[in-house]
């Protein structure tokens, strides 16, 4: 039998199993509910975001005005670009004054009124790009994300951050439960061990992809329904961002497949997965802090920025890293599973 057919048959069954089992249904419902909850959070933060954008526009106007009056651009009382610094006390006298911007030479009450400020789409892009750059993203990535609706970018990052949780809960018993309850023995004489594992991995990949896409879809509808963005924009940007980060999420799936194929008891597999994910995360944090590329690349989070890059070479690096890590983890899983007693 063609190995591809074998893998496809096993992957297809795995997807069905994931969405039929109590655990799979529960996880899908929880994930989608999480999407709905996040939409409400987004709605609540809408006012805050609106103020941030107005503040940015105001600052820009003030800087232009100061330049016209030959005043130093970093005049005291002007708000910082970084919205996180807006609440910092004004420099100089050390008193806790209002963070509301003031125009030099005019009393505070005569400052520009926010209601008069109109934020254009171009302003938003510039502001968003600046925020992403401040957050440490490469300029090309920041520029790309700056063009996307901010809500969707927030959705993206929440999805990326939560994906290990979904992957671990959905995949921890993919192989281990088949080993513990010996169900694998029904497959042992019918499928090669490596194709069984690859099928399991692909089944998990498709299951996670479908679940996260469903979650994203709900958020797109919510964002569009609130009139924040047109539905088409939500779908085109949302789908694009979802597609871009999916290879990185596959890295987590490779790890969980390796552990599930190595540990016979599902609960131990789950705990080992959590421990491994945490270890990988810590290594990534260390890598980021010491700026070590190798350490950063151990963790799938490290591939995301490459995958979001508009430079083709950077995107390919991200893709190769994702596929390479999957290859390493699945290769390890096959190495263990091939020789183990089942």
């Amino acid at each position: 039998m063609n190995p591809a057919v074998e893998v496809a048959l096993i992957a297809n069954r795995e997807v069905k199993k994931n969405f039929r089992s109590v655990k799979g249904i529960l996880l899908a419902v929880l994930t989608i509910m999480g999407g709905v909850a996040f939409t409400f959070i987004l709605s609540g933060s809408e006012k805050v975001r609106s103020k941030i954008e107005q503040q940015a526009k105001l600052q820009q106007q003030m800087q232009e005005q100061m330049q016209q009056e030959n005043l130093p651009p970093d005049g005291s009382g002007a708000p910082a670009l970084d919205p996180l610094q807006r609440n910092a006390p004004p420099r100089g006298n050390g008193s806790s004054g209002s963070h509301r911007p003031t125009t030099p030479g005019k009393p505070p009450g005569e400052a520009s009124k926010p209601a008069e400020i109109k934020v254009t789409a171009e302003d938003l892009k510039k502001f968003n790009t600046a925020v992403y750059e401040e957050a440490g993203l490469a300029p090309s990535v920041a520029a790309y994300l700056g063009r996307a609706p901010m809500s969707l970018v927030m959705v993206l990052f929440v999805s990326v951050w939560l994906s290990p949780l979904l992957v671990s809960l959905l995949g921890f018993d993919g192989v281990s439960s088949d080993l513990q309850y010996r169900a694998y023995r029904f497959w042992a004489t019918r499928s090669r061990r490596w194709s069984f594992l690859l099928g399991k991995f692909l089944g998990l990949f498709v299951s996670v992809a479908i679940t996260t896409l469903a979650m994203n879809f709900i958020m797109w509808i919510a964002i569009a329904a609130r009139g924040e963005e047109p539905f088409f924009t939500c779908v085109s940007w949302g789908f694009q961002l979802w597609m871009r980060v999916l290879p990185a999420v596959a890295g987590w799936m490779g790890i969980v497949t390796l552990i599930s194929a190595s540990v016979r008891v599902p609960i131990l597999s789950l705990l080992t997965t959590f421990a491994a994910f945490f270890a990988v995360f810590v290594i990534w944090i260390i890598g980021v802090n010491v700026d070590n590329d190798f350490l950063k690349m151990v963790c799938p989070y490290g591939y995301v920025t490459h995958l979001l890059d508009t430079k083709i070479d950077q995107y390919l690096i991200g893709l190769m890293l994702s596929l390479g890590s999957v290859g390493v983890w699945i290769g390890g899983a096959v190495g263990i599973f091939r020789w183990r007693d089942v």
């Binding site: 048959l9 199993k17 089992s21 309850y181």
Partner: protein, 342 residues
């Protein structure tokens, strides 16, 4: 030399093959050893299973039956020695796809899969013709009496029903070699009977190897048997040889009588017509086992059949007005196994 050979296997046991697949022997087990931690489960066991015959794997708990069985199925890798099924390593899925069917002991069916879908999936992996898989799966299910379970989820089946579905997947597609581990365990008498009849229908077409504790069942359906004790082969050969059914007749007598006064007395052994019995043509030895009140007549199977010996012996005994409680050929597998194992 193997234990089996040392104990003097009869010519009914196939000779050790010189090539991996001689066509006469379906399964070769050569000097396999398997150890779990410090416990040796199977110790240099050698056995050869003839093609198209029904073989029994017999022994008490911990004898190594399931371990040997699992090595034949490719679930376990021998620490020493080798196992060939139809001339191939049992882990060579490509070579044995659709040619080897296995009913594993205690393997749980996937709970969320409907029975029909599960069988169809396995049939596809088995490489059966895609247009016929459903028909073949349904036929296999009908054979085990589960025609109505097609749409039932495996998790909703009783233990006995699940066992029969597992049996159906082992028999599905008429593989050349079928390994059955405790096929009737947990079945009610009627279903156990039907399973035995199903196995009997494979005689002459399929090599069937059954591991079981049920000695009566094995004696009824097996052509050959291998007796294991503490991981070592202690006997092997034709079932009729193992039970001495082809060269021994046992007649159980009632040795106690009541006199006219109602007192019970025992007939002295000297009253038994042993000389007359020894004169029966073909009979080589006659002894009386007092503990069981059994007359044991050994005869040359090349000169006379067991039924002829029984006829003459009963005639002699009835002339002496002896009371006969039972007649049988050989001691029975159970008694033989009790003798061979501790």
């Amino acid at each position: 030399m193997s234990e089996a050979e040392e104990i003097g296997e009869s010519s009914d046991v196939a000779p050790s093959p010189k090539k991996r697949n001689d066509g006469e022997t379906a399964v070769h087990v050569r000097g396999v050893r398997k150890q779990f931690g410090s416990k040796v489960a199977v110790d240099r066991a050698t056995m050869h299973m003839r093609s198209r015959r029904i073989h029994g794997l017999i022994g008490p708990n911990g004898a190594g039956k399931t371990t040997t069985f699992s090595m034949m199925a490719g679930y376990l890798k021998p620490d020493e020695g080798s196992v060939d099924v139809l001339g191939f390593d049992p882990r060579n899925v490509d070579a044995l796809r659709g040619r080897l069917g296995v009913l594993p002991q205690d393997a749980q069916l996937p709970a969320s899969d409907p029975v029909g879908e599960f069988l169809t999936h396995l049939a596809k992996l088995q490489g059966l013709e895609s247009g016929a898989v459903e028909e073949i799966a349904k036929k296999a299910l009908v054979e085990v009496g589960g025609a109505d379970w097609w749409s039932t989820r495996c998790g909703a089946l009783s233990h006995g029903m699940a066992k029969r579905v597992a049996l159906a997947q082992a028999m599905m597609g008429s593989p050349e070699v079928v390994l059955l581990d405790e096929p009737t365990a947990g079945l009610d008498p009627r279903n156990a009977y039907e399973v035995r009849q199903l196995v009997k229908t494979r005689r002459g077409k399929t090599t069937v190897i059954i591991s079981s504790h049920n000695l009566q069942e094995l004696e009824e359906i097996c052509d050959f048997a291998v007796v294991l004790d503490r991981g070592v082969v202690v006997a092997s050969g034709k079932m009729s040889e193992l039970t001495a059914a082809s060269s021994e007749v046992r007649i159980t007598l009632k040795m106690s009588r009541r006199d006219h006064g109602g007192n019970t007395f025992r007939i002295p052994e000297s009253d038994l017509p042993l000389p007359a019995l020894r004169e029966i043509a073909g009979v080589t030895a006659v002894i009386f086992e007092g503990e069981r009140n059994e007359l044991v007549l050994n005869f040359d199977k090349k000169l006379v059949e067991a039924e002829v010996v029984i006829g003459f012996a009963l005639s002699v005994l009835l002339q002496r007005q002896m009371l006969i409680s039972g007649v049988g050929k050989g001691r029975g597998l159970e008694a033989r196994v009790m003798d061979l194992t501790d």
